[in-house]
């Protein structure tokens, strides 16, 4: 288990910048009572963030050009159908992974 010292410092600095955004809201929100508009705003974050994360995978950024990864969009179809039909995380993830493997094998 040998670890390069220069790397260690980069890792520690990266750990600090990932730790702060995760922890700050937890440390701050305890002290203040949130105003209603902010509470409302926070309540919409999960749905917007999850959408944005799904969409992020569909966007291919090849430097200058933006394109849609159609294979990714194609795999999303059976995945979303399964999610609506089963309402189950495990089933959806399995169908998604199997669809991705099948599609890549076929195309």
């Amino acid at each position: 288990m040998n670890i390069d010292f220069n790397l260690l410092w980069i890792f520690i600095a990266c750990a600090a910048v990932t730790f702060l955004p995760r922890v700050l809201p937890f440390a701050l929100i305890r002290r203040i009572r949130m105003p209603v508009p902010i509470q409302r705003w926070l309540s919409y974050i999960p749905i917007c963030l999850l959408t944005a994360l799904v969409v992020e995978g569909a966007i291919q950024d090849d430097g200058a050009f933006l394109s849609v990864d159609w294979r990714y969009v194609l795999i999303l179809i059976p995945t979303f159908v399964t999610a609506v039909w089963s309402r189950s995380l495990v089933t959806t993830v399995l169908v998604g992974v199997i669809s991705a493997a099948l599609l890549r094998w076929l195309l």
């Binding site: 040998n2 990932t18 995760r22 809201p25 929100i29 995380l89 993830v93 094998w105």
Partner: protein, 234 residues
Amino acid sequence: MQNTKELSPTFVQGIRDCVPTLLGYIGIGFAAGIVGNAAGLTVGEVGLLSALVYAGASQFIICAMLISLSPPPAIIATTFIVNLRHFLMSAALAPHFTSYSLLKNIGIGALLTDETFGVASNRAAQRLPLNDRWMNGLNVTAYISWIMSCMAGGWLGGWVPDPEVWGLDFALPAMFAALLVLQLFAEASKIKRYLLLIALTIVMMFILSGYLSTYLAVLISTIAVAAIGAVTER
């Protein structure tokens, strides 16, 4: 019986609720380990990176930037931007944990990931209570699985085929999709509104990605569309 269990979930219940997300951690962690191996990291270094940084997208980028010999300040700044979205997740979850000590809050926040955030906010959307034990069970299970998967990937490195062949990289978007659908149907009265906001987010993502990195696009679309949702609520 079922009721008391639901109202005050245990650490073990948290572990159980983490299980559906494990395939995602294993698949992506394994891939992150392979990339680390390709960047010349030892298994110990891969383990250290995943234990310290504990964020899939950032680990991929750190390794890619190490390969391209990017200067350390650029690596650190990029990592910061890629992970800024966690600020939004923490802000959305933190109000559920205000009754606990600062130390407990820091512990919960430090191990928050896309997936544990998704599982927790999904529970909150069903109006089920969140508590520290359950959240820690969920977080710690994810953390350990992630480190072990990364190290396994780093160890097996060049010998195994790309996990993409098995579709394992798709475990993550599939889970986001499932969590999105669950969130969507959690409040029947709001479905129309939610669908509108989803459409807006998609449009904003495509517009913003033309000008910014997709990480920033995720951040800004979420902030903006959630604000539109809040402002237009009656």
